[in-house]
Structure formats: structure tokens, C-alpha cells
């Protein structure tokens, strides 16, 4: 009988060994930066995208292979980087924007590096110009989008400014996102704060609420389920989205329309700038620096618009036809300093929630 018992224990042990072996396998196959200095690891959020051909070019030029590691949306990716500070998941982090920048810098995430090509980036985007801990890579604008057909049918001019949105003509037409859970929702709130001041924005939102603004939880739901301009499922002709949404919407259409079916209210925009930085404690800092330089190279910058639907940070890079034809350039986008955002974000979102929800 004892031998049976031993066999049972043996089976159990074998099982656990198997599991460990499985775990071991995983470890072997990871091939990350550590020992292998020919690999450079880019940590980012799950919207990061690039053409394979462009990555291949980087490998051919520098000898480094890029491995990417993503961790949820932009907010969680930054928070994960902060949690693994000093013992990072990779060498370079891409995707911290101006609403999160202060948190990242206060936590001392990055090692300074002045990327090649920075002189081609407009000063307005260089929010850490003195220290070069982060490098601006791209920017985009959160703006109200409108359904062209709706306003043409109604013979009504689409709204252009924040003020317009509170007018009776646009009553019950706008859907926005929860500022507490959605990045464009927060962007829109920050835009109104930039426009109407630290306290004035509350008065504006009271008017907006009186004018029947609808709040849903996420962008997907606002854009696809409530907005009427993206396939016509919803009944709201105005939605808080991005300035690049109209070109994105026609990107993969085989037969391109003359005009994008949606337009942008250019006076309702808030600018989001995305940065990259060399992570403190990176196992391959040399490769990381090369990758940062590459993120600001003309080749990568030209690849940015059609992969991530944002604008390249470099001003000497031409936008693709899709953007020039169906998009608009936002000249006077609202901004707030990262420090100010960091300081006010939580109280503002709380105040907004009790005011609007």
C-alpha cells in the first residue's frame, strides 16, 4: 500500500514539476533585454502601433531588434511603469501624455537623453525642454466631432466653439465621455477649464448640462452607439472624439468619399502631447537611446499618422494625403501645463462628477 501512496505523491510532484517546467519555458522564450544587448524593449500602452517595415529598417541600421510590451490603456501603462520603477519592464517607455506627465516625472521614471531631431520639434510641444527627461513624439487633439449629414439635412450650421454648444439650437445633441474613466472625456473637461478658468468651467458645464449633454462611460460607446456619424446607429450628431477621427473613419474605405462624413468643431479642442523616455534602470540604455532617436527620426515620424492617428511631433514631416484631405489642422488648441493638470485633476474630476452625473 505504501508504494501506492508514494505513487500518488509522485504524480502530484510530477504535476507541479510540469507546471514549473512550463513556467521555465516561458522564461526561456522571453529573450528580453537583459543579457542580450541586441534587443531593445519598448514599453507602451495598447494603442501603440508602427509599420513592420519601419521597425525592420531600425534593425538594419542599428542592429537592435525591437520587442514591445504593452500594459493596458495609457493610464495603466504609466502606472505600471511607476510601480516597476528602478526595475523596469523594458528600456524605453512610450505613451505618457501631458495629462500624466507630472506623475511620471515626479516619480523619477526617466534618464535624460536629448534625442536627435529635437530641434525640429516646435517649442510648444517640448514640455520638458530644460531637462530632456522625455521626448515629445506626437500630438493629437480632443475635439467635438459632428455628423455632416445631420446638419446638412437640418440646414443648420454645425457648432464651432465651446460657447456654441450651450446654444438652444444644439440642445440635446452632444454626447461626451465620463471624465473619470475616459481619456477624451478628461481632455474635454480640461479644455473647458483652460478656456473658462479654474472656477469658470463649472458655470460652463452647468449651462452645458441645462442644454442636455449626455454622458456615457467610454469613447467606444459614445462614438459607435450614441453618435450618429459612425454608421448611423446612434442619434446624437455631436460627440467628443479626436481631430483625427474623420480621417480615421475613411482610412480603410475602398471608395473614398469626397468629404469625410464627420467634421470637427475646431474651437473645442484640447491638445494631448505624447512623450517617450529612457527608463531608469534600463538593461540596454545604449539601445534605448538609439530607439529614442529613432522615434524622432523622419522615417518613424512619417509612419505615425496612419498607424496611431496622431500628428508627428516634427514639423518637417509631411502629413499623408488622408490627413490633409479629410482632416483639419487645429491652430488654437487649448492647453494646460502638466503641473496644473496634476494638481487639479482629481478635485476637478470629483467636482465635475457631482455636477454633471
Amino acid at each position: 500500500m505504501n508504494s501506492h501512496l508514494r505513487r500518488a505523491i509522485g504524480t502530484a510532484l510530477l504535476g507541479s514539476l510540469g507546471l514549473m517546467a512550463l513556467a521555465g519555458c516561458g522564461e526561456d522564450s522571453k529573450g528580453s533585454g537583459g543579457a542580450d544587448s541586441k534587443t531593445v524593449t519598448l514599453v507602451s500602452h495598447d494603442s501603440f502601433a508602427v509599420s513592420k517595415a519601419v521597425l525592420k529598417e531600425f534593425t538594419e541600421k542599428t542592429g537592435y531588434t525591437v520587442r514591445t510590451q504593452t500594459g493596458g490603456d495609457a493610464g495603466s501603462a504609466v502606472n505600471q511603469a511607476i510601480l516597476s520603477k528602478g526595475h523596469p519592464q523594458g528600456d524605453v517607455f512610450f505613451g505618457v501624455d501631458n495629462t500624466l506627465l507630472s506623475r511620471a516625472l515626479d516619480n523619477d521614471l526617466f534618464t535624460p537623453h536629448r534625442a536627435k531631431g529635437l530641434d525640429k520639434v516646435p517649442a510648444a510641444l517640448q514640455l520638458d525642454a530644460g531637462k530632456h527627461r522625455v521626448t515629445p513624439v506626437d500630438y493629437g487633439d480632443v475635439c467635438v466631432n459632428y455628423d455632416r449629414k445631420y446638419f446638412a439635412d437640418k440646414k443648420l450650421a454645425p457648432p464651432r466653439t465651446y460657447e456654441d454648444l450651450t446654444k438652444p439650437a444644439y440642445k440635446n445633441l452632444l454626447v461626451t465621455e465620463n471624465a473619470a474613466t475616459s481619456s477624451p472625456g478628461l481632455g474635454f473637461l480640461l479644455g473647458t477649464a483652460a478656456k473658462y478658468g479654474d472656477d469658470g468651467w463649472k458655470g460652463y458645464w452647468k449651462k452645458l448640462r441645462a442644454n442636455g449633454v449626455e454622458v456615457v462611460d467610454g469613447w467606444e460607446q459614445a462614438y459607435f452607439d450614441r453618435f450618429s456619424g459612425a454608421g448611423g446607429k446612434g442619434d446624437k450628431p455631436l460627440v467628443v472624439s479626436y481631430a483625427s477621427s474623420p480621417p480615421a473613419g475613411v482610412a480603410e474605405l475602398k471608395t473614398k468619399p469626397k468629404k469625410a462624413p464627420t467634421g470637427v468643431a475646431t474651437g473645442t479642442c484640447f491638445r494631448q502631447v505624447e512623450f517617450a523616455g529612457l527608463l531608469n534602470g534600463a538593461s540596454n540604455p545604449k539601445g534605448g537611446k538609439a530607439l529614442l532617436d529613432f522615434l524622432l527620426s523622419k522615417r518613424f515620424q512619417a509612419d505615425v499618422p496612419l498607424n496611431m492617428y496622431v500628428n508627428p511631433a516634427r514639423e518637417d514631416v509631411e502629413l499623408p494625403e488622408l490627413f490633409t484631405r479629410y482632416g483639419v489642422k487645429i491652430a488654437d488648441s487649448a492647453t494646460l501645463s502638466p503641473q496644473k493638470i496634476a494638481k487639479n485633476r482629481e478635485p476637478w474630476v470629483k467636482a465635475w462628477s457631482s455636477l454633471v452625473l
Binding site: H4, A12, A180, E252
Partner: protein, 573 residues
């Protein structure tokens, strides 16, 4: 023989007492149990308890001191209390509603033979794997403005709690049908018939014979539905609007967005306390209920419905399933086919061309299917090994320690995905366990959710196996392992298949934790769906719907295949 009670009940009580006595004298049984528990314990210790403890400790420790002062501070916050109250009552209401709607379904699936039964059983499980964003969208199409209900009767249920409850029924119908129906199909109908012959009314016979026998399975199903809805995230957000939030949502916000780890840690502890309370309640209710039953081949218990009453029951169950489960699924399929130029496969073709465009963002649909299947198979194997060993160890009830072990296995269902995901990140970051970049994290995280299903589906059946069979085998000289193989395994083959189906479906659909740890170059189907939904435009939406439809088909096909294996095996009875 006491025919108005399940045949085995009495005898188990006696064997139970005897068993308890003999176990104490028999160190071998205890050693075997420990050996069986070793793997599940190690698995949960390393991949659940340790990461979760690490993230909670990170939140509650500052400058080398424990900050327990935060606990009363957070717990007494009226906003937190509101969230806790809503989380609790919506979960209780969802569970009750799901049981009320799905128990007749479990009966019909167990007792009636009708064409297309296997397929329908697979179809009702499909919701399980669908991303909540996609399901939310389908429900809005039915219940929201301009939806089916709105057009027919002018009723709108979006942003009402009813939409949340109905969606929870949609997701969890299969949990009840599969867990309860699985056992029900193996109950010998002749017991109930005998009771009726001895003068019991139909209801009386059911209440005194069948219900006690089913109680453990019903309790197990209720527990799982409760835990699932207690930690509901996407459904509440999309269908309830921004006004409703569950504890899960609050934890996500504090961790992933605000990085307020102390508050998140306290909320996680609150969640644990609540889940622990529910687990204790469950343990208390089922403790005396589980009994040895005479299990029979399910193929023999199902027959064509007879008489108008049975046909009506079958008809109404099918109608409810069609309305509540098939309609939302049909909406998704319809949307995936309804392209800009009328019906066709435009969106499906666009899936491939998006992948061919050379970006890293979109993968070919077949590749995503492959990724999902590979992860799900590994996760299912892990869940079956870990859960099977745990269920075997728990078959004979024992002291508090073992019951605690049982509860530990259930905890992942009641734990926020973001807590586990972030916990992995900060805990499994040093050799030999630096798994942060490893693919194995994905199936491991998925298996964490799969194991409770395996344990809960197998345990009622394993415990229902008449202990005398095992004793007889042992007396005849069989080793414990052989007893398990020759007695338990054939009888639980069906439960094993049900468990495998669950573990597989759960892994296929897992999103919350996967999104934090999946490697971007190997996205699973739900992750790929989310990518399409993150892009503007009609085409992206259509592609998301097309990919969701593919996910549905993959799930249904896998489950039908599993059913097939199961029917082939039933010859072993």
C-alpha cells in the same frame, strides 16, 4: 429504504461519521490529501496569493510602516459605502434572476431530448466568451433608444438597472444550465417516480427527492454567478451609464488611473471580506446537503417531452433562451454582415486586409484565433490539473483547514482583474519568477478563473459518488489512485467535460487580466476586438463585430466538439 428521501442520504451520513473517525486514525489518508493539495496550493500561493498580497502590501505600507489607519478612513467614506451597497444588491438580484430564469432551462436540458440540444447548449455558453463592450453594444441595440423594445413598445431600459440585470442573466445562464443540468441529468428519475408512486405529489416528490440532491449544484452555480456579477465591470459601465459603479470599477480607477494604491488596497480588502462572507455562507448552506447519489448515464434519463405540460415547459424555455440569448447574439452577427453596401462579407475581408497593411496593430483573424486557442488550451490543461487535484483532495470533507483551502480556490473569481494584473507585475519580477515578459502569464491568469469552475463542477459530482463503491474497491485491494481511476473517474467523466468546457470558454473570453499581460504581437481575439473598437469609423466597428462573430463561432465549435467527446465516452458507464 426510505424512498421519500434520496436513496443515499442516510448511508452517507453514517459513512461520513465512520469516515471521519477512521480518517483520524489513518495518517495515510491525510498524507494523500496533502499530496493532492500540494500542486493547487503551490499554484494559488505563487500565482494568486503572493501577487495580490504584494500589491495590497505596497498600498498599505509607506516608509516601512503599515498604514492601517487608511482602512476606517476609506471604509467610512459614504461614496465607498454606496458603491459597496450597489455592488452587493445588484449581484444578489442578478443571481436570483439568473437562477429563476435558468433553472427551468437546466431541467429541460437535463431531462428532455430534442433535436439541436447539443448545439443549443453550446450556444448558450457563447455569451461567456464575448467581450463586454461588444455585448453591451448588442444589448443597447435591443434595449436602448431606437432599439427593438423601443420600437415595439416604446420601452427603454438602458441606464436602468434592469439592463444590467438582464445582461448578467445573458452572461451567466450557462453557468446554471451546465452546473445544475450536468448533475440533474445524472440523477435517477426513478427515485422521484418511486416517491410519487408512494403517494407524494409531483411537487412534493420534487421538493423532497430531487431538490435535496440538486442543492449542492444549485448552491455552487449561485455562488459562481454571484461572484461573477459581484465583480462585474464592463456590463455595469456600458449599460448602467456613469452613475453606476461596482467595487471592481472603483478598484480599477484607483489602481490603473489614479494610482492611489492605499485606497485600492483597502477596497481590495473590502472585496475580499465581502467575498469571504459569501463563501462562508455558501459553505454553511451546503455542508450538510451534499450526499451520495445514485448517478446514472445522462443519455438514459433524457426523453422526448410528453403531454402538453412538458411541451409547454420546453417551448417556454426555448423561447426565453431565444429572446434573451440568441437575439443579442443575432444582433452581433447581423451587424457584422450589414456592410456599407448591403449585406455581405465586407467586414470579414477587411479584417484580412487590415492585417496585410503591414502595421503591428492588426493581426490576421486566423492568427488571433490561433493565439486564443493556444492560450486557452494551455489554460484549460492547467485548470484541469490544478482544479482536478484540488477537487480530488476535497472530495472527502474534513476540518476547517481544508474548507479554507476550498474557499481560497474560489477567491480569484471575486478578485479584481486589475489587482491580479498589477500584482503579477510587481510580484513576479525577479528570477526565477521574472515572468513579466513571458507568454505563460496569460494562460496562468486565465487558469486562475478556470480553476474555480473545475472545482465547483466536479465537486458535487465527486461527492455524490457513493462512498461504498470506493470502500468496496479498496477492500478488493485497489490503491487510492486506482480507486480514483476505476470508480471516480468514469462517474465524473461528464463533469470533467463540463469543467473543461467552462475552463476553455473562460480562457477564450478572458480580457480584464489578459489586456495587461498579453504580448502585443500575439493578441487574443478579445484583445483584437478591443483594438478595432478603439478606432474611429464604421469599418472598424464592423470589423470588431466580425471578429466577435468569429470568436462566437470558435467558442461554439469548440464546445460542440467537447460535447461530442463526452457522448462518445458515455459508453463507459
Amino acid at each position: 429504504m426510505v424512498l421519500t428521501r434520496p436513496v443515499g442520504t442516510r448511508s452517507t451520513e453514517t459513512t461520513e461519521k465512520k469516515g471521519a473517525g477512521s480518517r483520524r486514525r489513518d495518517p495515510r489518508g491525510a498524507a494523500l490529501r496533502l499530496a493532492l493539495m500540494a500542486v493547487p496550493l503551490a499554484f494559488f500561493g505563487i500565482f494568486f496569493a503572493y501577487p495580490v498580497a504584494a500589491i495590497v502590501a505596497r498600498g498599505l505600507r509607506a516608509d516601512g510602516h503599515w498604514q492601517f489607519g487608511r482602512i476606517p478612513e476609506v471604509v467610512s467614506d459614504p461614496a465607498v459605502l454606496d458603491i459597496l451597497w450597489f455592488t452587493g444588491w445588484q449581484a444578489a438580484a442578478s443571481t436570483t434572476l439568473t437562477l429563476a430564469i435558468a433553472l427551468p432551462g437546466a431541467y429541460v436540458f437535463a431531462r428532455f431530448a430534442f433535436p439541436g440540444k447539443g448545439l443549443l447548449r453550446a450556444v448558450v455558453t457563447v455569451p461567456f466568451v464575448l467581450p463586454t463592450v461588444v455585448v453591451g453594444s448588442a444589448f443597447l441595440a435591443l434595449l436602448g433608444r431606437g432599439g427593438l423594445l423601443d420600437e415595439l413598445w416604446g420601452v427603454r431600459l438602458d441606464t436602468s438597472v434592469w439592463a444590467i440585470l438582464l445582461a448578467h442573466v445573458f452572461f451567466n445562464y450557462a453557468v446554471v444550465v451546465r452546473t445544475v443540468g450536468g448533475l440533474w441529468a445524472q440523477l435517477d428519475p426513478r427515485q422521484e417516480e418511486a416517491a410519487r408512486m408512494l403517494g407524494a405529489s409531483r411537487l412534493g416528490a420534487w421538493r423532497r427527492v430531487t431538490l435535496p440532491a440538486l442543492a449542492p449544484a444549485v448552491a455552487a452555480a449561485a455562488l459562481m454567478v454571484f461572484l461573477f456579477t459581484f465583480t462585474s465591470f464592463g456590463v455595469v459601465q456600458i449599460l448602467g451609464g456613469p452613475r453606476y459603479a461596482t467595487l471592481e470599477v472603483a478598484i480599477y480607477r484607483e489602481t490603473a488611473q489614479l494610482l492611489d494604491l492605499p485606497t485600492a488596497a483597502v477596497l481590495t480588502l473590502v472585496q475580499f471580506a465581502a467575498v469571504g462572507g459569501v463563501l462562508a455562507l455558501h459553505a454553511w448552506t451546503v455542508r450538510r446537503r451534499e450526499s451520495a447519489l445514485r448517478l446514472v448515464d445522462p443519455a438514459r434519463t433524457a426523453r422526448r417531452p410528453q403531454g402538453p405540460a412538458q411541451w409547454t415547459l420546453l417551448g417556454s424555455v426555448l423561447a426565453v433562451a431565444a429572446l434573451l440569448i440568441v437575439t443579442p447574439l443575432a444582433v452581433l452577427v447581423e451587424r457584422s454582415l450589414n456592410g456599407p453596401d448591403g449585406y455581405g462579407f465586407t467586414y470579414y475581408r477587411a479584417l484580412q486586409s487590415a492585417a496585410d497593411s503591414g502595421g503591428t496593430f492588426f493581426v490576421a483573424p486566423l492568427e488571433a484565433v490561433g493565439n486564443s486557442l493556444r492560450y486557452a488550451v494551455v489554460a484549460t490543461v492547467i485548470a484541469l490539473v490544478v482544479g482536478g487535484l484540488a477537487a480530488a483532495a476535497l472530495t472527502r470533507r474534513a476540518g476547517r483547514l481544508v474548507r479554507g483551502f476550498d474557499a481560497l480556490l474560489m477567491l480569484p473569481l471575486g478578485t479584481s482583474a486589475v489587482t491580479v494584473g498589477f500584482g503579477f507585475l510587481i510580484a513576479l519580477d525577479e528570477p526565477p519568477l521574472d515572468l513579466r515578459a513571458s507568454w505563460i502569464l496569460v494562460p496562468l491568469a486565465q487558469a486562475l478563473v478556470g480553476v474555480p469552475f473545475v472545482v465547483r463542477t466536479m465537486l458535487p459530482v465527486l461527492r455524490a459518488v457513493d462512498h461504498r463503491l470506493r470502500e468496496a474497491a479498496a477492500v478488493l485491494g485497489a490503491s487510492p489512485l486506482r480507486v480514483w481511476r476505476e470508480v471516480d473517474l468514469p462517474l465524473v467523466g461528464r463533469a470533467l467535460a463540463v469543467a473543461a468546457g467552462f475552463a476553455f470558454a473562460v480562457s477564450l473570453g478572458e480580457f480584464g487580466a489578459t489586456v495587461f499581460i498579453a504580448r502585443p504581437d500575439h493578441p487574443t481575439l478579445p484583445v483584437a476586438v478591443a483594438r478595432f473598437l478603439g478606432r474611429a469609423g464604421e469599418l472598424s466597428y464592423g470589423q470588431a463585430m466580425a471578429l466577435s462573430t468569429i470568436l462566437m463561432l470558435v467558442c461554439a465549435a469548440s464546445l460542440v466538439a467537447l460535447e461530442r467527446i463526452r457522448t462518445d465516452r458515455s459508453g463507459e458507464f
